[in-house]
């Protein structure tokens, strides 16, 4: 179905319920995937998505057409998710981490071997601080100084948390890969 983004925004500005629903239908899926990345379970992700959409409808007047709509929507969702984490006090004690290496460098894995569900699952399993910083840095593309500012932590903490997230993800994916390969082999046998 074709739609005009501007008309959609205009409709939302006029509090037109049909336009509001259409906006939800068009962007809900992508925004829900973001919520799933920042939370630990689906229920929390649903709460965040609901809060985010209410914010979107309330503040749609402040959206200017000078940036893409999706970009604006994503930033509202990310901020809502961060607020949610703050309220849950998950982001309270983020410290510098001394990374101790076990000496065995994890082999880089190719993400193409995994399904989206698996990737989301792996991200969810990270400690909340690592999960958040990983999302902000690797996916959303914020710089460490911006993340530090957003979360009220030092840049160093952001970097070390990210490094930890990266290490943990490699480990987990390697494990997953081994499991995948094993199950494929089993099937072949």
């Amino acid at each position: 179905m074709t739609f005009n983004e501007q008309e959609l925004v205009q409709g939302c500005k006029q509090r037109n319920r049909i336009a509001q629903k259409k906006l939800y239908e068009v962007f809900g899926g992508k925004l829900f995937a973001i919520c799933l990345r920042y939370t630990k379970n689906r229920a929390d992700a649903e709460d965040v998505l609901q809060d985010a959409f209410i914010k979107i409808y309330e503040n749609i007047d402040s959206f200017r057409n000078d940036s893409p709509l999706e970009y604006w929507l994503r930033s509202v969702v990310v901020n809502t998710a961060l607020n949610h984490l703050r309220q849950q006090k998950h982001l309270k004690d983020l410290d510098d981490i001394d990374l101790h290496h076990n000496g065995i460098a994890d082999k880089e894995v190719t993400l193409g071997d995994f399904q989206l569900k698996q990737l989301l699952e792996v991200i969810k399993e990270l400690p909340t601080g690592c999960q958040t910083i990983f999302n902000l840095y690797a996916i959303e593309g914020y710089q460490h100084n911006e993340i530090a500012q957003k979360l009220g932590i030092s840049e160093g903490t952001s970097k070390s948390q990210y490094a930890r997230a990266r290490g943990l993800l490699q480990q987990k994916l390697n494990k997953e890969k081994r499991f995948n390969d094993g199950s494929v082999r089993d099937k072949q046998l």
Binding site: K13, G29, L49
Partner: protein
């Protein structure tokens, strides 16, 4: 699937894998959002309603009413169920009795003599009442009574029966006697339906005492009760003593119910382009400065008669006074920027008229100022305060008193404006509209202070003022959106009559104008 050769770095891989990821949220999320949006809409209009204790009192009263009402209904429906059972049982008995009555009428007459033992009979009668019927105990008791009835039947005679019937004061028995009285006329051929009624009555414990008296009287006066009555008594007693069919043996009627339903079809609503059409209603109050701009164009007849048609005597000025208008508007937004609106307002326009002296009738001591005199000149049927128009002041020794007075000159109008508006930044919370249009002013009344200080009221029916004159209107309105539905606005208005207020322009002219600032609220549908 990604092509690994294109992806070199860790972040890029993840970004590519997840940036465009999408997962459909469950339906409940949208329902939650919608509920919150609805709540917000309501909340804006009725803020903090839940904090109002009245709401809670009302809710508590409704809950209490429902509880009590529900209880009564439930208990009633329970009683109905019992009644139905009773009727079924009674019908069952009646059916059997109809078929067996004739057979038993002779044999059963001794059987009825069990009535001598009132206690037993009562037991037997009560036994048939569903209230007391306990599934386990009931058949046993009934069987005992039956046996008893049949054992005793051999010894009893019809005389004994009559005596017993007369003597008996047992509740069930006597009421049975009453019933058989009523059935006696048809001597046992009574249709089954009537018998049902009779039987049902016999079982009704409430009506029984009254019936007891009646039947007792009947019995007392009926020392000569004939055999037919006796037979009827017997048959009813026999009915009472007959075994009832256990519930298990009752016919079971099955009722099949077909429920047709159409599963709700979820219809995809087409994306409607943002609707610009919007209706609104507004109410406002406008403090204003109203000036009737009244000019006397020629010396009124009373003045000219006195050779007083000097500029000084007949010219005066209208001064604006503090006025107000109560305005209602209904409007429609026809495009993003444009809207049209109509309204209905009541204007109370106060002003003063300053200038000129007044003429005094030397004989009657009556006075009239220039306006009053001018009114007299233009009104076909206007009698002024002297009763004979301006004639009083013609050649009758009227004097001109050259004392300039300020008199009040107040108007009431009903206004019907039609305006178009152009709104700047309609999507913003705070926006402005430029308004322009025409307005029909319907003249209601004019209060003019006379030279003597009295108030002369002129109505539209006096034919001095036009009943309707046209005015142009323009304004600037500032809107502030309080909620999606409510707007507060402040409008600066200017109205100017384009036609004269008077029917005749010969000697008087009035082209009122008004400046006002109105404060209002607007509700959008």
């Amino acid at each position: 699937m990604m092509d690994p050769s294109e992806i070199n770095n860790f972040e890029d891989q993840w970004r590519k894998a997840l940036k465009e990821a999408s997962e459909a949220p469950p339906q409940s999320v949208w329902e939650g959002i919608e509920a919150r949006l609805d709540q917000q809409d309501k909340g804006m209009i009725l803020p903090l309603w839940w904090q109002s204790s009245k709401i809670w009192y009302a809710a508590a009263s409704i809950a209490a009413l429902l509880l009590v009402g529900g209880g009564i209904w439930y208990s009633n429906s329970g009683m109905k169920g019992n009644k139905v059972n009773t009727e079924i049982a009674a019908k069952q008995i009646a059916k059997e009795s109809v078929s067996s009555e004739n057979k038993f009428s002779e044999k059963a007459s001794p059987e009825a003599s069990v009535g001598a033992d009132a206690g037993n009979q009562q037991l037997a009668l009560q036994d048939n009442k569903p209230e007391s019927s306990k599934p386990a105990g009931k058949p046993a008791i009934r069987r005992e009574n039956q046996t008893l009835a049949f054992e005793k039947s051999a010894q009893s005679t019809s005389d004994a029966l009559r005596n017993n019937a007369l003597r008996s004061n047992g509740k069930g028995l006597v009421s049975a006697a009453k019933n058989s009285d009523s059935a006696a006329g048809s001597s046992g051929n009574t249709p089954a339906g009537d018998r049902d009624v009779a039987l049902a009555k016999a079982e009704d414990p409430v009506t029984t005492p009254v019936e007891t008296n009646v039947s007792r009287d009947a019995a007392a006066s009926g020392g000569h009760v004939n055999n037919q009555v006796a037979a009827a008594i017997q048959s009813t007693m026999a009915l009472a003593l007959l075994p009832t069919t256990p519930y298990n043996d009752l016919d079971i009627h099955m009722q099949k119910r077909y429920v047709f339903f159409r599963p709700e079809v979820i219809k995809e609503e087409p994306v409607a382009p943002a609707k610009n059409t919007e209706y609104y209603a507004a109410l406002s109050l406008m403090p204003a400065s109203f000036n009737p701009n009244l000019t006397v164009k020629e010396a009124p007849v009373g003045f000219s008669g006195q050779s007083l048609s000097t500029r000084r005597a007949v010219s005066g000025t209208s001064e604006a006074g503090a006025s107000y208008a109560v305005q209602t508007q209904g409007g429609m937004r026809i495009s993003k920027h444009w809207s049209v609106e109509m309204g209905l307002s009541y204007l109370k326009g106060n002003s003063t008229y300053e200038g000129g002296g007044y003429v005094l009738n030397a004989f009657s001591n009556k006075s009239a100022n220039v306006l009053e005199n001018a009114y007299a000149g233009v009104a076909p049927g206007y009698a002024g305060m002297n009763g004979d128009k301006a004639a009083d002041f013609l050649n009758n020794g009227a004097l001109y008193i050259d004392v300039a007075k300020t008199v009040s000159n107040n108007y009431q109008y009903l206004q019907l404006p039609v305006q178009a508006g152009f709104t700047i930044y309609p999507e913003k919370k705070f926006n402005a509209s430029i308004l322009g249009g025409m307005m029909a002013n319907f003249f209601l009344s004019n209060d003019l202070e006379s030279a003597s200080g009295e108030i002369i009221t002129t109505k539209a029916s006096d034919e001095i003022y036009r009943s309707m004159n046209w005015a142009a209107t323009t304004g600037l309105r500032f809107n502030y959106r309080l909620s999606p539905r409510w707007n507060a606005n402040l409008t600066g208005s200017y109205q100017k009559s384009v036609t004269s207020g008077f029917r005749s322009n010969q000697s008087l002219d009035s082209r009122p104008y008004l400046y006002g600032v109105s404060w209002g609220m607007r509700y959008s549908f």
